[in-house]
Symmetry: C2
Subunit: 195 residues, 2 copies
Amino acid sequence: MSLKFALLGFLSTEAASGFDLAREFGESVGWFWFSSHSQIYPELRRLETEGLVASTPSPGGPGKQKRIYRLTEQGETELQSWLEQPTEYAPIRDVERVKLVFLDQAPVEVIRRHLEDHKKHYEDLLAVYTQQLRELHRGVFPRLVKRLATRPRNSHEMITGLKVLAMQGNIARVRTEIHWAEDALSWLEGMEDQT
Amino acid sequence: MSLKFALLGFLSTEAASGFDLAREFGESVGWFWFSSHSQIYPELRRLETEGLVASTPSPGGPGKQKRIYRLTEQGETELQSWLEQPTEYAPIRDVERVKLVFLDQAPVEVIRRHLEDHKKHYEDLLAVYTQQLRELHRGVFPRLVKRLATRPRNSHEMITGLKVLAMQGNIARVRTEIHWAEDALSWLEGMEDQT
DNA sequence: GGATCCATGTAATTAGTTACATGATTTA
DNA sequence: TAAATCATGTAACTAATTACATGGATCC
């Protein structure tokens, strides 16, 4: 259900092709919703039949069969009404935690490797998020720039502020994971010494 | 794929019925994997045909058609080999963040309500996790007690330690969310004053 | 005897993954 | 001209949700 609104949200900043969306929803680590092109293309067509988006063939001439999707007024309305509704929190499905609590019969090195992977994973994310926050503050973050360009000046501070908040939240999260993994690793060292 | 191993993991502590599992995977907030009974019952039968679990009708006599599933040796082996493999991190799908970054055209009260809901949500979780951590430390957490009872004494510290770690991690996470929401709310207050 | 909980199931649908497939355009 | 990138699609499958359905046991 949320892919729909993630797409509408993205298109509320600027029109884009399925390929653009698939790139942003797929490769880019700094984005908040992952999806693959095989899900995005059919969904866009579905949204078009619903009247929430409209598409035009790319102005690149023939040969290029690229389609550009833009939000319709109806899509804008539907997006706004979804945004206002309270969020339903996704049920917890945490593979790492499941592994951790049942790893108690495994060799200590295995546990350590898991914790080190955990730390590494979030350190990599931290680097990405930190870079993006820097770009937001400098006003060179591409999607921020585009959104500011299409919105009234008196909403610019809010637009920037919310994106900064979101990114700060991500940074706080990954820092928490890194610190936790470090604490866990030093606890584990103590466990080994006992053997 | 992970439901399979969440079930095997759970059954590695003690045999249980589909109903027990559905209760633990459904209602209980403190658990790491959510699933509904309509997914669990068929999955258990599938695992039985795979030979990873075995079931016996409950010893409650006839009338009660309750089936108790226990892990087989093959299931134990498969679980351990899964536990050792590096975790593949789930792709990010974060509805709250998607909402937040597109809420910039909505009234400030709407944004505030979202942030307050966020804070409330994680405060409720914090209460649950804190209580569970207390029970772990006191040695009265039911699933810890059961697991300790079936494992050699020299692994007791590891069993307890890992569960404590997992719970501390959850607590750290929710605290991060609460602090973030508080910071966001006070930033938002400043925004309102400007109007 | 009615409500609540225990206990297990199926059917229909939506969401998401993985793999296969095709062809145009750009770059080296 | 070969490789990489742009661009869009389908098919098969697995995972998860939602709703419907049934009946026994226990409690009041």
